[in-house]
Symmetry: C2
């Protein structure tokens, strides 16, 4: 089977031109077929502030109302996506920017929740991902660059978590490729002590993860990320969590079963 | 040869949700393969005002500086493009949004001008258009939706005139398809008297156009539009200029040689 590496990059890297260039050139050095998924970083929040679009919270959860959807569609689908595609082209890599609406790659539905209306937030089923189209792109030696937007098949774009989207795409392609998923962020990997890079876990099993959650060593933003990561891992994807600036070095946390 | 209709829609239609829905459903009723090119309408100007980005003029010409490029990349490439794609998907049409950077479809270069630096404005050569990729998309029964952005192969997006882009794409595909180019706007077609819809020219030859230009009957914005249109017409494209809301009716101005 061909190797495919799905790399998810997020906030801090996207907001910094120099770091982004570094990460993209590292991305291109990866062997085999490649696919990039990006979040939006602070650009969407910045743009919201400049446009006077106030973040709306319900029961502490962030809601994507119509105005916020406009902002993320502009920033993720337009500014960030096209900037990355143009930069990859300048590095000699033929890339194509995609949202989940394009070629109907990721149809989704508004999040259903008993008490909170999240607004234009999209959840998707992995089995609905249009892998046939992604494969035709990969087989033309074109690198897909996904922003974290999906659509509801009723005419609306939807805001989707970029980690979930990357894990879903990786999972959907796991029977056609030998898939590695790399979650990039600003730390060396999963740390036992968030302030101490030497506490890096080189490997993390699901049972160890459960134990670390129970003990409170892993909290907050890392939990949904690791839930997504183990979800992909259980579906046959090799998952590594590492520093975006060390994409080509063998440092990070590899998930084990 | 397969029929391909390239439809260019602009300002007034894009800014109005009801009109846009009407035009898109008319677009879907066209026979044969289809390709849509859209401008940005007033959304980009509106967004510039909201963001405090001032239009810059040099010798009366509008300049695309870095801030303006950010706005058009967001609005054309993100907001407008994804909104149209999502709406086409909801109407059962599999569409894909593309800028000229995606799959390197339209590489361009910054406009070279003796005295004015237009900034991030892109001109392209028709022969550089990546028709092979557009054909693979069309042959998968996917409808390309182009925003009027290109890229410079050096990492920058470029702002490109939507009429020119539509004419260029139509021309580039004229040896592979029986191509019709429809320029849509808010009038019934080319009018001898801009305030009188009954003065519609049902046909317009190049020599008649030259005569109307000399006499001052055709002025302003219509001149670059008709120059683009005749450029496509001379390259073997059937060109019609008509009201966006009458896409399926046989009313408008057909160019003749």
């Amino acid at each position: 089977m061909d190797r495919l590496t799905v790399v998810k990059i997020g906030g801090q890297v996207i907001d910094d031109t120099v770091k982004l260039a570094h990460v993209l050139s590292g991305f291109l050095k990866l062997e085999g077929l490649k696919l990039l998924v990006h979040g939006g970083g602070k650009k969407a929040s910045e743009m919201s502030v400049r446009l006077g679009v106030k973040p709306r919270l319900v029961e502490g959860r962030r809601i994507t109302d119509e105005e916020s959807l406009e902002v993320v569609t502009m920033v993720y689908g337009g500014l960030v996506n096209k900037t990355i595609v143009a930069q990859l082209q300048s590095l000699g890599e033929n890339a194509i920017g995609l949202s989940g609406a394009d070629a109907n790659v990721i149809p989704a539905h508004k999040r259903a929740h008993a008490s909170i209306d999240y607004g234009y937030v999209g959840d998707f089923d992995v089995k609905d991902i249009n892998t046939a189209f992604i494969k035709t792109i990969l087989h033309q030696d074109i690198t897909p660059v996904f922003c974290a937007l999906t659509h509801d098949r009723k005419g609306s774009m939807l805001n989707t978590n970029a980690d979930t989207l990357a894990a879903g795409i990786a999972l959907s392609l796991a029977d056609a490729f030998d898939v590695t998923l790399i979650y990039c962020f600003e730390k060396a990997g999963v740390l036992l002590d968030i302030d101490d890079e030497s506490s890096l876990l080189e490997q993390l099993s699901f049972s160890h993860y459960q134990q670390l959650k129970r003990s409170g060593a892993i909290t907050d933003g890392m939990i949904p990320k690791l839930d997504n990561a183990f979800n992909a891992s259980k579906g046959g994807v090799n998952v590594t969590i590492k520093d975006a600036l060390n994409l080509n070095e063998d440092i990070g946390t590899a998930l084990t079963s």
